[in-house]
């Protein structure tokens, strides 16, 4: 149920209600990538926004990081290195990126990072 609401939140939600993220965190499912690329990007966007918000309110953001740890490998393996790097930058953990990449993807990641 929460899964469905989360996906619908992408099209239906107002600017800062962050529905997609809210229901995603409530849902137990694991295979996020099956909801498609657009969904992942939307999720990444909302993570970035929510991270800033939680940081300002001094709230716990570990759940966001956990979620990011799922999303980033998806991006990296689906030719969206730019999005992966951007998400990690938003979460101020760019130094974690070596964990996510391998010899097929590193050159593109690095190219994006230094330019």
């Amino acid at each position: 149920m929460a899964d469905m609401l989360s996906v619908l939140g992408m099209t239906f939600s107002d600017e800062d209600r962050l529905d997609t993220l809210k229901y995603r965190l409530l849902a137990p499912s694991v295979d996020l990538g099956s909801w498609g690329h657009e969904y992942m990007r939307h999720l990444a966007l909302e993570i970035g926004q929510d991270y800033q918000k939680r940081l300002n309110d001094n709230k716990d953001y570990q759940s966001l990081i956990d979620l990011a740890n799922v999303i980033v490998p998806f991006f990296v393996t689906h030719n969206a290195e730019a999005d992966a790097v951007d998400l990690l930058t938003e979460l101020e953990m760019i130094d974690q990126i070596p964990r996510f990449i391998d010899e097929n993807t590193y050159s593109r990641v690095c190219l994006y990072m230094v330019r």
Binding site: T89, I97, Y112
Partner: protein
């Protein structure tokens, strides 16, 4: 630094990317990033993390291109040291010239092409003869730079005759031009200069000292010839000019090396308040060049101390003081936040110069970052209207001029910011005071050196007919700078027109000649653009050299057009061949086919797109224009670095059966 990212993100990005490259064994890419970080220990660490000799040499070549001084190898590892010290630069450069059939020296007349100027004025160009000869010696030096032969200075039968065709201070520049002709060729260069350094005439002696410095620019020798020749007795020579020239020579020879001995040698000149301001300022400037971007605290303290010094108070109004400030600023080149300490100190000084100096420090610290906030601050400074009767007017005028030049220094190397700045310059030119208008052409020149873009030189050519002669003179120089070393035919045509237009004005004509010399610099094989290695790294040494020349041009009539034209030789630090030479495993030039074409931005594109477009196949060594990239055609070899630029070592591919 990474464009469009703020501190400390940019550094974190580079370090992470560096670690990734290192992890996957792409050390030549890793070292490029380490150089960008300007972190010596990281560079050494990366360099030492391989045992592969070829790869190590390639990395050394990359380090040498940035003119970073590393003293980590014993003399036994001769070829490694040779790579690090770019000792063989002159050989490669001459090999390129040989390949392109450019060894034949060009005479000054080949450059002026006076017969193409309109005939009405043709006979009148010799109005100010010694001035004309001086211009010719500069042009000759620029055009034949590094080739070691020419048709004027180094001709056997009437040796040293040309030097005597110039007067007094002109002899300094004329003699110094020998240095530029033999640039990078330490051994034979010094032999030629030797004759002049024992000349009876002090002016010639001063020129010879400068020549020694220029010969050693960018190359090093374990015997430290520059240090030996320019040492104590020349530094303490009774004649002021000899001292200035020796100090400047040291600055040129050791630019970017951060060699401790030199700070011991030169610091006394900065702090001794009984000396003339010009000597102290030149010492400060040379130290700035030598320790560029090191934020060396001893030197910055010494310079700041002179600003506080009571005995100096009267001297601080001297025109040379600006170079003292520039020396201080260069120390913080590219250091970003670190400059704040010095800015605060400068604020405490109650002197009109302090404001201008702090702007200078700030723009140096943020050079090449494209930081929008800094650009806004600088535009704000230009916005202030200066009251005519204000007694601090002079230094405030300087302040705004620095701000204008700073705009392009900060925006350099970042395309979008550059575009926006060009628009702002248009506004400044329309609405600015004369002091701002004078600096705008210089800034336009700085923003794309050795990269003649139509929109920039069209604008400059319009300003070169400005009513304010200072604007015109600076615009002419800037035209030379944007075209430096390109042989651009349109610019050459424009400059010839200017030569006939200004044939009655010795100052402007002098500058036109200089610009013509710059345009044909090294017969089109050199570049003064501070960005190298696929426009990723900004060379601090080159940028500092360019900045020094431009600062001296803010008041061209007091320096370059008066008796201090030798300051133009600071451009030597920025001069570098824009070649691609492929080397075999013994570091000998190797002929292979490469595709040369316009570089394409492939960042973030899907798949494996081509990195160049509209290519032509040529055989190395080749000359690369700004924004061009090369690819190996031959699959028998693998380059040690993916960026084919400058000196590249090729490794033969061993096909396994």
């Amino acid at each position: 630094m990474v464009p469009l990212l703020t501190f400390p993100d940019n550094e974190k990005f580079l370090r992470t990317a560096h670690d990734i490259y290192k992890k996957y064994g792409k050390l030549s890419q890793a070292i490029v990033l380490a150089i960008r970080l300007h972190d010596h220990s990281l560079i050494i660490q990366t360099l030492d993390s391989t045992t592969d000799d070829l790869l190590k040499r390639q990395m050394a070549l990359l380090i040498a291109r940035q003119k970073i001084w590393l003293d980590v190898y014993d003399e036994e590892e001769e070829s490694m040291v040779a790579c690090l010290q770019s000792t063989r630069m002159t050989d490669y450069y001459k090999a390129l010239a040989l390949e392109l059939n450019l060894l034949e020296p060009k005479s000054v007349q080949d450059i002026y092409k006076s017969h193409l100027e309109s005939s009405r004025t043709a006979g009148l160009t010799n109005l100010d003869s010694s001035r004309h000869n001086l211009a010719s010696s500069f042009v000759n030096a620029f055009v034949n730079a590094g080739f070691g032969n020419d048709k004027m200075m180094l001709v056997e039968e009437n040796q040293s005759s040309w030097v005597w065709k110039t007067k007094d201070d002109g002899m300094i520049s004329a003699a110094a031009s020998i240095g530029m002709l033999q640039m990078w060729d330490v051994e034979s260069g010094l032999t030629t200069i030797d004759k002049y350094s024992y000349a009876d005439d002090d002016w010639v002696k001063a020129g010879a000292m400068l020549a020694v410095g220029i010969v050693n620019t960018g190359v090093r020798d374990n015997a430290e010839p520059a240090m030996a020749l320019l040492s104590q007795d020349m530094l303490n020579h009774k004649k002021k000019e000899v001292r200035i020239a020796s100090i400047m020579g040291l600055g040129l020879a050791y630019a970017g090396t951060a060699k401790e001995e030199l700070s011991e040698l030169l610091l006394p000149f900065v702090s001794d308040s009984s000396l003339d301001m010009s000597i102290s300022a030149m010492a400060a400037l040379s130290l700035g060049l030598i320790f560029v971007g090191s934020s060396n605290s001893d030197i910055s303290e010494a310079i700041v101390q002179t600003f506080f010094d009571e005995d100096r108070a009267a001297q601080l109004k001297d025109k040379w003081t600006r170079f003292m400030a520039l020396g201080l600023a260069l120390l913080y080149f590219g250091r970003q936040e670190e400059v704040d300490v010095i800015l605060e100190t400068l604020e405490a000084i109650d002197h009109p110069m302090s404001k201008a100096s702090s702007v200078l420090c700030e723009v140096c610290a943020w050079a090449g970052t494209g930081s929008v906030l800094k650009l806004q601050e600088l535009l704000h400074i230009c916005n202030d209207h200066i009251e005519e009767d204000d007694e601090d007017k002079k230094s405030d005028g300087l302040l705004q001029a620095y701000a204008v030049i700073g705009l392009s220094l900060v925006a350099m190397g970042e395309d979008v910011g550059q575009e926006m700045i060009l628009r702002q310059f248009g506004h400044l030119m329309h609405y600015g005071e004369s002091n701002i208008r004078r600096a705008v052409p210089l800034a336009l020149g700085l923003i794309s050196p050795s990269n003649p873009q139509m929109k920039i030189y069209d604008t400059l050519s319009r300003y070169s007919h400005d009513n304010d002669n200072d604007v015109a003179v600076n615009a002419i120089f800037a035209m030379g700078l944007v075209g430096a070393g390109t042989n651009n035919a349109r610019l050459a045509q424009l400059l010839r027109q200017l030569a006939s237009y200004y044939s009655r004005d010795p100052n402007s004509l002098f500058m036109v000649r200089i610009a013509q010399g710059l345009l044909h610099m090294g017969k089109g094989l050199l570049s003064v653009n501070p960005f190298h290695t696929d426009r990723q790294i900004m060379s601090r040494v080159s940028a500092a050299g360019l900045l020094t020349v431009l600062v001296s041009l803010i008041d061209a009539k007091q320096f370059i057009l008066a008796d201090s034209h030798y300051l133009l030789y600071f451009i030597a630090t920025a001069m570098h061949p824009r070649f691609l030479v492929t080397l075999d495993e013994n570091l000998q030039p190797l002929k292979v086919n490469v595709r040369v074409g316009q570089a394409v931005d492939v960042v973030g594109q899907a798949g494996r797109p081509k990195t160049i477009t509209g290519w032509q196949t040529q055989s190395t060594p080749v000359v690369l224009a700004y924004g061009e990239r090369a690819e190996l055609e031959d699959e028998q070899y693998l380059p040690e670095t993916p960026i084919l630029e400058g000196l590249v070592i090729l490794r033969k591919v061993i096909i396994k059966p």
